[in-house]
């Protein structure tokens, strides 16, 4: 039941917080670090609204103790965009109406980012499986699948263009 000074690496920055050991990563992100992009839905593991990336893998912040991810690289939706430049997934979601109320979007976006980082050109079915832990009450999912595939397409074209120009690996993020 003790309180501890914790250093978490969130979106590439070391963030310090004094946290109760039984507090979840979701509580610490939202309430101590004021990163409210990560949403709380069911808080029981069922909806995926609280999804964040831990060392690049989608985890549920509502069932993870903050102390358990000390030393890990944590990515929240706030960490997807480069300054002034949204992640291609964010642009595609906005363009295709893949967010309606938007409550599921932060979780969808980070789950989709993990997928595209591991598998840059997924099939529609692979996208479906990767997002199977993220519930959406609004869109009916099709627009979300379309948006992820569009972003994958653009990622691919950007990579191809960068390659032709003799540039680096990824000019898109």
């Amino acid at each position: 039941m003790s309180r501890r000074l914790l250093v978490l690496r969130v979106n590439g920055l070391a963030r310090e917080a004094a946290v109760d050991e039984h507090h979840t990563l979701l509580e610490v992100l939202r309430e101590d670090l004021h990163l409210t992009g990560t949403k709380h839905g069911c808080e029981l593991g069922e909806c995926g609204a609280c999804t964040v990336l831990v060392d690049g893998e989608p985890w549920l912040a509502c069932l993870t103790l903050a102390v358990d991810v000390e030393g890990c690289e944590i990515t929240t939706v706030e960490g997807l965009a480069a300054p002034g430049r949204p992640d291609p997934l964010q642009s595609a979601f906005a363009e295709l109406g893949a967010a309606q109320c938007g409550y599921c979007s932060p979780g969808m976006l980070v789950s989709a980012r993990a997928l595209l980082d591991a598998n840059p050109s997924p099939t529609r079915d692979e996208v479906r499986h990767a997002l199977a832990g993220n519930l959406c009450r609004c869109t009916g999912y099709e627009a979300i699948l379309d948006a992820v595939l569009l972003a994958a397409d653009r990622d691919g074209s950007a990579r191809a263009a960068a390659h032709v120009a003799g540039g680096g690996d990824r000019g898109d993020r």
């Binding site: 039984h22 979840t24 808080e43 893998e57 102390v67 358990d68 832990g133």
Partner: protein, 323 residues
């Protein structure tokens, strides 16, 4: 926010240390691995623990190893996503892991946590205020079973996906406790009692799952659930057969999940298969018998009538896939 109640968290580095810490903390302490079962249950105030021994950092407890004798050892804190993606383990076991919960939960949840999953019931896995309004039950704070009030027995359901297929593979569990270590068949880890469903001795921790060499055994696992993701099994069917060259079934194991407080062996059906070829007629006969030992109660998402009715259908499909 639905918050966890306060508890002391201990983070041992070795299994011996974990066993010692658990014993030191006395009754009311528990181990936690991925927390994907325990934390929701604690948030809903179904269980209370003043201290949790976190197994995540225990060295040597994570990972899949080939054993000198040809079998495979799966450390208890091996994550489900690792098991699902492993080509070293029998395909049916990897498949069972791949259909558990969701991608996020498979990244967090462990094999040991899955084997030791608390039993589930639609009267129990509810928030505290819901249960306060409706009334508590035998399994937590009450004095009556809401499912079958006439008996003082808890029928909460063994709802994890790995145990049936682990039993069909002939796997064992190695457990370590204050009194030393022991290795026993996975089936012996369970008791058909929704409250006291694990046959672990006080203070014992599951260290690894030991899968013997498959050696020609054909194994399959089918999971029936409401949605194609996230949901717990409403029925799990694991089956394994060993066929002689002429197609005669030398031995069969059929195990049902989610129909009782422990995995259920279908001995009558197994006996019907022994010494016979897996023809459609033999399969139908065995599949019908497989439903006999299952007595699902009305305490999961789908009705108990439906869950009983579909047993032969899915046992039959499982056996067909092995023939």
């Amino acid at each position: 926010m639905m918050r966890l109640p306060p508890f002391a968290r201990l983070a041992p580095r070795t299994l011996a240390e974990a066993v010692e810490m658990l014993a030191d903390q006395g009754p009311g302490a528990a181990v936690v691995a991925g927390g994907t079962d325990l934390y929701p249950n604690m948030k809903r105030r179904q269980v209370e623990h003043h201290a949790l021994v976190d197994l995540r950092a225990v060295e040597g407890m994570r990972g899949i190893r080939e054993e000198p004798g040809g079998g495979i050892s799966i450390g208890a804190t091996t994550r489900l996503s690792h098991l699902a993606g492993s080509s070293a383990v029998p395909r049916a076991l990897a498949h069972a892991a791949s259909v558990i919960a969701s991608p996020q939960i498979r990244n967090m949840g462990t094999v040991g946590g899955n084997l030791c999953l608390d039993t589930r019931c639609s009267w129990y896995n509810e928030p505290e205020d819901w249960r306060t309004a409706v009334g508590f039950c035998l399994k937590a704070a009450g004095d009556v079973c809401r499912v079958a009030p006439a008996k003082s027995h808890c029928w909460a359901v063994a709802s994890s996906d790995l145990p049936p297929v682990a039993i069909a593979l002939g796997a064992s569990v190695r457990a370590v406790g204050p009194g030393g270590e022991r290795t026993f068949p996975v089936a012996d880890l369970y008791r058909d009692d929704g409250i006291d469903h694990l046959a672990l001795l006080p203070g014992e921790i599951v260290a690894e799952l030991l899968v013997p060499p498959v050696d020609g055994l054909r194994v399959t696992y089918r999971k029936i659930r409401r949605r194609g993701s996230i949901d717990f099994p409403e029925l799990g069917v694991a089956a394994s057969v060993r066929l002689a060259p002429e197609g005669i079934c030398e031995a069969a194991t059929i195990v049902l999940g989610s129909v009782a407080s422990a995995p259920v062996r279908c001995r009558e059906a197994e006996d019907l298969l022994a010494g016979r070829p897996l023809t459609p007629e033999v399969i139908e006969e065995a599949a019908a018998a497989a439903a006999h030992p299952a007595k699902p109660q009305d305490n999961t998402d789908l009705s108990h009538v439906y869950r009983k009715w579909v047993i032969p259908i899915h046992v039959s499909r499982a056996l067909q896939s092995l023939s």
